[in-house]
């Protein structure tokens, strides 16, 4: 893709394939800390780390280091920053904004070995984990205690909690339960120069301190590396009701979302999939039983105390029918529910069947503007002769218009870029923003000027400098270079 150059930090135009060997003395020093088995410098092994989930960007790092403890992370950062070498933190590499994209002159510090659940405290409903713990694994481990970890990004079977903290990840059920930042009560962090600091803590809520935990969450690896994370757990819901609303058009489904939220109902999730997505999913191994002739479908879920759920589901069904639903189905068994969710959560993967490349977009708009925005996205897709498939968190107004394309077609690639920019501008113009949960990374930093003025960007740069005065943590992410601004 014709993406902004993401080579050496602090400048553009440096080849992303620039190969410059890491100083052998630095390699030896890193090896003395983590063991040479955990320092990767061979070109063929580095290929794995060239990109994250946004594969359109690829940069080979100088090396990858895999520390196994907070002390090792601190020592590694001290060595690298001492040598003026940028550090790019990486979890599972499932991010969709290029947040873990290496820099050609930098070293990736991966948290894959730091994958232990350190403590589950069921009485205080807390867990303390290392950053490499996979999101879904925490819920599996806490389920025997009647507890779970609420944020559930679609990649939860592979993404890590460290990555979730970096990106302030969301997920379908964040409509009711909120995103990652609501659940992180404390973090141990390695910041510039290898200093280890502890922020927050569930027992320290009375401390008269700035909310540095809240500031750190969502900082996309630009402030430091979280090496221990304390999170709040919730009790498992007694019951759940999952509905599938089937609509002739996306617009009608959008109106149903507005009706449901405005009625005072508090669903756990309201997800929307359009016809293109339904067809892709139903033709794949992830088939969820969605009718392929539907213009759109809503997955609506309520959870909580069993006694009230049927009434809530009935009310949501009435909202759907009032908005013009063709039919509303209910998942009556756990396997049906799991199938519906599998279809929704694996939709991105299913799209691989219908196009070689996929640009997963992410933006948020005020819920009431959903029908209008969906219609205009459709129009933009037609005007640029592109296929756009929508699957997103409708209850939050968090859109994921996915553009299907072939990167080997330069003309189509150019149209993807222009359509994408137009969609972002549309979302901002109606009062929304350029990313709801995927983060800015490298992918969206060119759009940052659509939503932030010079004062806001200067303030963000100043805040980064508080944690990272030399700009050596994840350089080239989040903040735009002036010449790269799309606005």
């Amino acid at each position: 893709m014709t993406r902004p150059a993401a080579g050496s930090h602090g400048s553009t135009g440096v080849s992303s394939r620039m190969t410059r060997s890491l100083d052998p003395a630095v390699v030896r020093a890193l090896g003395s800390v983590v063991g040479l088995d955990h320092v990767i410098t061979e070109r063929d092994r580095l290929v794995v780390y060239e990109s994250d989930g946004l594969t359109a960007y690829r940069v080979s790092p100088q090396a990858v280091v895999l520390p196994g403890s907070t002390d090792e992370v601190a020592a590694v950062v001290k060595i690298l920053h001492g040598a003026g070498i940028p550090v790019v933190p990486r979890g599972a590499g499932t991010g969709l904004s290029g947040g873990a994209l290496p820099t050609a002159d930098g070293v990736v510090v991966g948290t894959a070995r730091m994958n232990r659940i350190l403590e589950i405290d069921p009485v205080n409903r807390l867990a303390r984990v290392q950053p490499g713990v996979i999101n879904a694994r925490l819920t599996e481990a806490t389920r025997p205690h009647g507890l779970y970890y609420a944020p559930d990004p679609s990649s939860q079977s592979t993404c890590t909690l460290g990555g979730n903290v970096a990106e302030n990840s969301g997920g379908p059920h964040c409509l009711k339960y909120g995103v990652t930042t609501r659940y992180v009560t404390g973090v141990k962090v390695v910041i510039a120069g290898g200093e280890v600091i502890e922020l927050g803590g569930a027992g320290r809520t009375a401390a008269a301190e700035l909310d540095l935990v809240g500031l750190f969450v969502g900082s996309e690896g630009c402030f430091g590396i979280a090496t221990e994370i304390e999170v709040r757990l919730l009790p498992l819901a007694e019951g759940v009701r999952t509905l599938l609303g089937i609509f002739e058009t996306m617009e009608a489904a959008g109106h149903a979302v507005t009706e449901i939220i405005a009625s005072g109902l508090v669903p756990a999730a309201v997800e929307i999939v359009d016809n293109a997505t339904i067809r892709a999913v139903e033709a794949s191994v992830y088939a969820g039983g969605y009718p392929v002739d539907a213009g759109a479908a809503l997955v609506i879920e309520f959870d909580g105390t069993e006694a009230g759920l049927d009434a809530e589901a009935d009310a949501a069904e009435r909202c759907c029918m009032a908005a013009g639903a063709r039919e509303v189905r209910r998942a009556t068994e756990a396997t049906q529910r799991a199938k519906l969710w599998n279809g929704r959560k694996k939709a991105f993967g299913a799209m691989g069947r219908i196009a070689p490349d996929l640009l997963v977009q992410d933006a948020t708009v005020p819920r009431t503007r959903l029908p209008e925005v969906l219609a205009r996205i459709s129009e933009i897709g037609e005007r640029y002769r592109l296929r756009v498939a929508n699957v997103f968190h409708a209850g939050d107004g968090n859109l994921h218009p996915n553009i299907l394309f072939d990167r080997n077609d330069p003309d189509e690639l150019d149209r993807v870029e222009r359509a994408s920019k137009e969609i972002m501008k549309l979302c901002v113009d109606v009062g929304g923003t350029i990313t709801g949960e995927h983060g800015v990374g490298v992918d969206k930093r060119g759009y940052m000027r659509l939503v932030h003025g010079p004062e806001e960007l200067a303030a963000m740069a100043a805040v980064k400098a508080v944690f990272d005065p030399r700009g050596l943590f994840n350089p080239g992410k989040v903040l735009p270079d002036a010449e790269e601004a799309h606005a």
Binding site: V123, N124, R125, E167, N168, G178, V179, T181, R182, E195, I197, G201, A202, G203, R204, T205, A206, A207, A208, L210, D211, L212, V213, G214, L215, G218, S219, L234, P235, E238, A262, L265, V266, G304, T305, G308, A311, E312, T364, V365, P366, R367, D396, G397, G431, G432, T433, G436, E437, G439, V440, K444, M448, H452, E456, A459, V463, K464, V466, V478
Partner: protein, 407 residues
Amino acid sequence: MSLVASLAAVLPGAELPAADDRWPWAAEPAMAVVHPSSTDEVAATVRWAAANGVGVAVVASGRRFRGTRPKGRPFLILATDRLVGTEIYEPADLTITAKVGSRVSAVSAELRAQRQWLPYDPPHLGDRTLGGLVATGESGPLWMGYGELRNHVLGATLVTGDGRVVRLGGRVVKNVAGFDMLKAVVGSRGTLGVLTSVCVRAFPIPLTDRLLVLRGESASVLLPIARAVGTAPLMPVSCVVMTPAPVFSAATALLVRLHGAEPTVEADQRTLEKHCGVSFERAEAGGPNASVPDHATDGAVVIEASVLPTRLPEALVAIRDTVGDTPLAIDTYRGALRASLGASAIGAVTRLTARIEALDGALSARSTVPGIDAEALGSRPSRAVTELTTRLESAFDPQGVLWPSRP
């Protein structure tokens, strides 16, 4: 030109000098009180102050302002009482943007007309301004069911200490477009800038709001039951122990609040009673419930201690040992205890802080009585956190204009 004349030229509406004594925390009189009516006027005031070496003390309702003394330099009071009114309210989006001087009671009334509300219950909520609420960042016990206030502030306009206008966040419920500076601003008590408008998330008014009451002889008797509430397979929206509890005709009361549809709340009460092995009474909605959030807030010094919920009994003993039998409000899910103390107990606060810190907790103290610098008696951040905080404050307020009493 004198300072006073210089300020008058910038803000013709300023009271020169300060015309009243509404702010008794200030040991020295302010040189002026200004009442800006727009973000631009706030920015002009702060820029003038920065250029002339004058401190700016922002006062909303004045109720919660830190009782500390300016340190020997002129300062002005920036009152937010003319920054009032709703800017944008979209009921179907469940968001409202209002100027910071708007009373929470006025915002709540506007929301109520659309069957919506703000699910926060810190002390004296009705008297507070929206800006004051956000500046202190206090959620009250309802955070158990709804999350903390900081998670519901979606956007804000902030004038930094050098007069820059920075717009933080936005008006949508999910937004990760850049570093979340808003989180640091909520609860920063004006140290990072002057808020002029904020956008917060509203919620549908629950169909049923039930307060369950269990009377007891003492907090130590009720805390184990409160812990059982905290481990029940459901989520009450708040759980508080208050002592004394004359409004409930009891020495101590455990108060559990349930929200939801009637059948849900009914079932939750049954589950809770079975899980805890007790029978709750129901209090009338809107009755005694209304006084609970303000409990233990009227002393010369108010302390807030926090520990993990399982350590609440030890924290209770520490409080009784050091400051004696004093009114308490205990948010048992959060592990937070608020106590109101007489002025004579001030000498014991340092010892209490040490006891709470020994439980891996923290303590903060405040006073609205002139001459009592209670804040200095609470827990101190670690060296690293202090350094980060200082650098952050300097980034937003390079000349230290805001909060002129800052050490």
